[in-house]
Assembly symmetry: C2
């Protein structure tokens, strides 16, 4: 099996490689961050069965984290140094989206997981085969979202006022996610060039393409909210 | 492969089976509880690399939890119902041994993991082959204790007064663990009969045997503390 990391592969281009390393660091931190949020949710779970369900979701995200970290190590990078640089981004996002209860925590996990998966799937199109495969594998549906859908729907059935509050919460999550994504784009030249600035690279985005991408991501978010019985 | 759970196997004895189910429930809750404590420790970790190291320990304990839970399911039990009944025991233990900082959390994980492994290894001798194999597998060293040893030794080197405080903490952990173990013995007839009350079963414990077992467990605890540079 030939590797894209071997001499002559796409990772020989230092700009491309820097972008891939930043992307993997971003994903890696995102997974670790998802694990920590789910651990917190598990602590607040109303019963043992639910707690175990949430920890099962956390274990799936942890497996993804390990794959991404191992890829960074295979590329000769210190995964923690690369991740560290995204601490502020995730700190801001989580600081502004602290769930006030169990349901808000669940919704955050569901919305965040969905948005991340959509976004990274879009980006995957611009990656070398090996990196793309890892990104797609780690972003694959963990198959646990039905659990969240059931919990939220039950809560709304028990108290219909919950729907309005959670719909607002979903909009806030989406707004903060987009706002942090914009800051990453503004701060991260190598990562941004991977998809946006690659004018001289076939397949690079133009502004219209970016616009369509965000439309697709927003629509997918609205569909996910609708599955919960919530307005986006 | 023949199964001990098939007709004619040791699990056909309803008293023995009840004891095994209680034991698995106890172990299961213990593993879940360890995962939650480690998640908490990871949150307090001083840096990303340490956080990831702690989450790796939690992931290993989670794997053990899944094996034990699956065994309960294979025995036709509702794992959550069985676990639930041990909630008060673990709640008391953790309520009385709330770590006041990162090092106390680490030491608790190390001491707790070691004590549990010693205790369950002793009990394993009285189990049918299948149950014994699962207990021994899930209680095997997760191989992460070197990490704790290094962290504690470094902390003591940086500030020798830490050693006195942590030695006291280790004694408190041991005392509370023994006290909760005694309550389990007092409350759990089926579990206790598995090892103690089985006068009519070959291999059952007498009081002298129990005494020797506790001596072995206490000695192993002292050795673990000594590896940290702490008095037991």
């Amino acid at each position: 099996m030939t590797s894209d990391a071997t001499p002559g592969g796409p990772l020989d281009d230092p700009d491309y490689r820097a972008g891939v390393v930043e992307l993997l660091g971003l994903l890696c931190f995102g997974e670790l961050s998802a694990v920590e949020e789910l651990n917190q949710d598990a602590q607040d779970a109303p019963d043992l069965a639910t707690k175990v369900q949430i920890q099962t979701m956390a274990a799936a995200e942890w497996g993804h984290f390990e794959q991404l970290r191992d890829r960074l190590v295979a590329l000769g990078e210190d995964p923690f140094a690369v991740m560290e640089s995204f601490g502020a981004t995730f700190g801001r996002f989580h600081g502004r989206t602290e769930p006030s209860d169990w349901l808000e925590g669940l919704l955050k996990a569901y919305v965040g997981d969905g948005l991340a998966a959509d976004f990274y799937r879009e980006i995957a199109a611009f990656l070398d085969a090996e990196t793309r495969q890892i990104v797609l594998e780690t972003m694959s549906e963990t198959g646990h979202s039905e659990f969240v859908v059931d919990q939220v729907r039950e809560a709304i059935e028990a108290d219909p006022r919950v729907a309005g509050r959670l719909a607002l919460w979903g909009r806030r999550l989406m707004g903060e996610a987009l706002s942090q994504a914009q800051m990453v784009v503004a701060e991260r030249d190598a990562l941004t060039a991977l998809v946006v600035g690659a004018v001289d690279r076939p397949g690079g985005f133009d502004l219209a393409t970016i616009g369509r991408m965000f439309t697709r991501i927003t629509e997918a978010h609205a569909e996910r909210m609708a599955r919960l019985g919530l307005d986006a």
